[in-house]
């Protein structure tokens, strides 16, 4: 009889102190982010405020930004200049970005005034602010990738600010190929990765209580 572990065999129980990386990761996830925290069906009653909607709407806008951006990237950077359908998808991308920033900034201010970093949530705030800052750079590379008058003028103006810091040595705003590549690959990965991290932190630690609740 073979000693190989078949798919129908009962999995071995986790051994305490196991050196398995897989077991370690599974335990970490179960401990830090159980499913009832990741996908809750009850929340504190004070979460009923409209301020909590801003973050969700920002994420919804980000999904639309990425979806419309994928279509634009698929057909290439020239497509939206010569095709009505392409221009429409560019409009979807443009307005999704505007909505994303509007609701992200509202969420940011809402969390500032709610002091969302209290009670061990500093990392959640910090990652959120970094999402905002990286998003600004992502949008900037998008404006540089438009291949129109706006992108020409932004590139010529922005080069002095970028060059003054020395970053112009490796981040050339006049190089369309570099800006386009960064805009459709690296920065979207950074933004979505950081947003995921931000959401995981929120789900792990829960929403912060109103200040007076702290003193109860």
């Amino acid at each position: 009889m073979s000693s190989e572990v078949g798919p129908t065999q009962e999995p071995s129980p986790a051994v305490p102190g196991s050196r398995s990386w897989t077991v370690w990761l599974r335990r970490l996830i179960q401990r830090e982010l159980p499913m009832e925290h990741l996908l809750p069906d009850r929340e504190p009653a004070y979460v009923g405020s409209w301020v909590y909607v801003f973050g969700v709407v920002a994420i919804a806008s980000l999904i639309l930004v990425i979806a419309s951006g994928v279509v634009l990237a698929f057909f290439g950077p020239q497509w939206w200049h010569v095709s009505p359908q392409g221009h429409f998808f560019n409009s979807l991308h443009f307005w999704s970005v505007q909505m994303f920033f509007i609701f992200m900034v509202l969420h940011l201010w809402g969390q500032y005034f709610a002091q969302g970093w209290r009670d061990g949530r500093a990392a959640t705030w910090m990652v959120g602010v970094v999402v905002f800052l990286i998003s600004v750079v992502t949008a900037f590379t998008g404006y540089l990738s438009q291949q129109n008058f706006d992108s020409q003028w932004i590139a010529i103006n922005a080069k002095d600010g970028v060059n003054a810091t020395g970053a112009g040595a490796f981040f050339n705003v006049l190089n369309f190929g570099q800006m386009y590549g960064l805009h459709i690959v690296l920065f979207p990965l950074l933004v979505t990765g950081l947003v995921t991290w931000h959401v995981v932190l929120v789900r792990m630690r829960g929403v912060v209580k109103p200040p007076e609740e702290e003193r109860r």
């Binding site: 405020s49 806008s61 639309l64 200049h81 409009s91 949008a139 008058f149 040595a169 050339n172 006049l174």
Partner: protein, 335 residues
């Protein structure tokens, strides 16, 4: 169970809860935003002002084109003496490395990151924008080839005198549509050379010549964009669209569309002293924004900044329903 400083069971003990459907909320938000974005796209579209080409520049502002081309030869444009990352002019060196590295190098006290980074996209504006395109364009055009050869064989001082004389002659030139009629002067072969360059620009050939790099494919527009930026035509169009730095620049957009409004604070500094007149404004503004961004990230750890919202009391607006409940509830109602 304690989790990274937050014991959720203990933290939320006694806090009233309510049903909550996360997936439903994100689905509804996505649907609503899709409708909003579809409506905005359908009714308002999006901006797409066609790019300026060398051809359109030469056609609409031929005098500016000739003056810029002459200035590139003279080495008096922004890009010809910019400094890193495009070029360095060792003839300017006078013991101070930062001064010797170009007119556009910005410093702040001992900080000179632009100079430290060095030249990484070498640009010789006179060669890239005028001489090399003319060398390609002169094939099969004897008069143009002879003029270019005469210019290249002349001494540096002679070339400078010709360019200066040509620039003076352009001050009195007559413009008829896309043509520039230049009066007599001691400008040697300059008129033949630069009128040849203008003719190629008008035909659209110069757009291709400026991006040719020996490769079939090209996505780097550093040289033609610097050339366009050296002229006054592009800046004039930008000012008409309210895109100049003194007009809040990048927060605006062509047409009547919203721009990068999230850059308002960055752009704000350029509108006020000392930034609006400083030669190192870019470096100062970028450093200032770096400090402010770091402060925003570190708000949870900065006394005063982290306490300000509590003092302002705006959290009572965020949780107004919650506080109303607390006010109206009798003490025994609370768990």
């Amino acid at each position: 169970m304690r989790r990274r400083g937050i014991d959720r069971q203990r933290y939320y003990r006694g806090v009233p809860t309510a049903p909550y459907d996360l997936i439903k909320e994100i689905t509804v938000a996505l649907a609503v935003m899709l409708v909003v974005v579809l409506a905005l796209s359908a009714f308002l579209s999006s901006p797409d002002e066609p790019p300026v080409t060398i051809q359109s520049w030469a056609h609409n502002a031929p005098l500016d084109f000739l003056q810029t081309a002459g200035a590139e030869l003279q080495g008096t444009t922004v890009s010809s003496d910019y400094g890193p990352p495009y070029n360095a002019d060792p003839t300017r060196a006078d013991g101070d490395l930062r001064v010797g590295l170009g007119a556009a190098v910005q410093t702040l006290g001992p900080l000179a990151p632009q100079a430290w980074a060095g030249v990484h996209q070498p640009v010789n504006a006179a060669q890239a924008d005028v001489i090399q395109p003319l060398e390609l364009a002169a094939v099969g055009r004897p008069a143009l080839a002879a003029a270019l050869r005469r210019y290249q064989l002349a001494s540096r001082a002679q070339r400078g005198r010709w360019v200066a004389a040509y620039d003076a002659a352009l001050q009195h030139a007559r413009v008829h549509g896309p043509l520039v009629l230049v009066g007599r002067g001691h400008y040697g072969p300059l008129n033949v050379m630069l009128q040849g360059l203008l003719a190629d620009a008008r035909s659209g050939a110069l757009d291709a010549l400026l991006t040719q790099s020996g490769h079939f494919y090209e996505t780097n527009y550093t040289k033609p964009l610097l050339f366009l930026g050296d002229g006054a035509y592009l800046a004039g169009l930008a000012a008409q669209q309210k895109l100049a730095g003194s007009q809040w620049g990048m927060t605006n957009e062509t047409g009547r569309y919203p721009g990068q409004a999230w850059l308002w604070l960055y752009t704000f500094w350029y509108q006020i002293p000392p930034f609006n007149s400083a030669s190192n404004a870019d470096l100062m503004v970028v450093l200032l924004m770096g400090v402010l961004s770091t402060l925003l990230v570190l708000v949870p750890f900065i006394p005063g900044l982290r306490d300000l919202p509590r003092w302002l009391g705006l959290h009572r607006l965020v949780w107004r329903e919650h506080y109303r409940f607390l006010r109206e509830a009798r003490p025994g109602d609370r768990p």
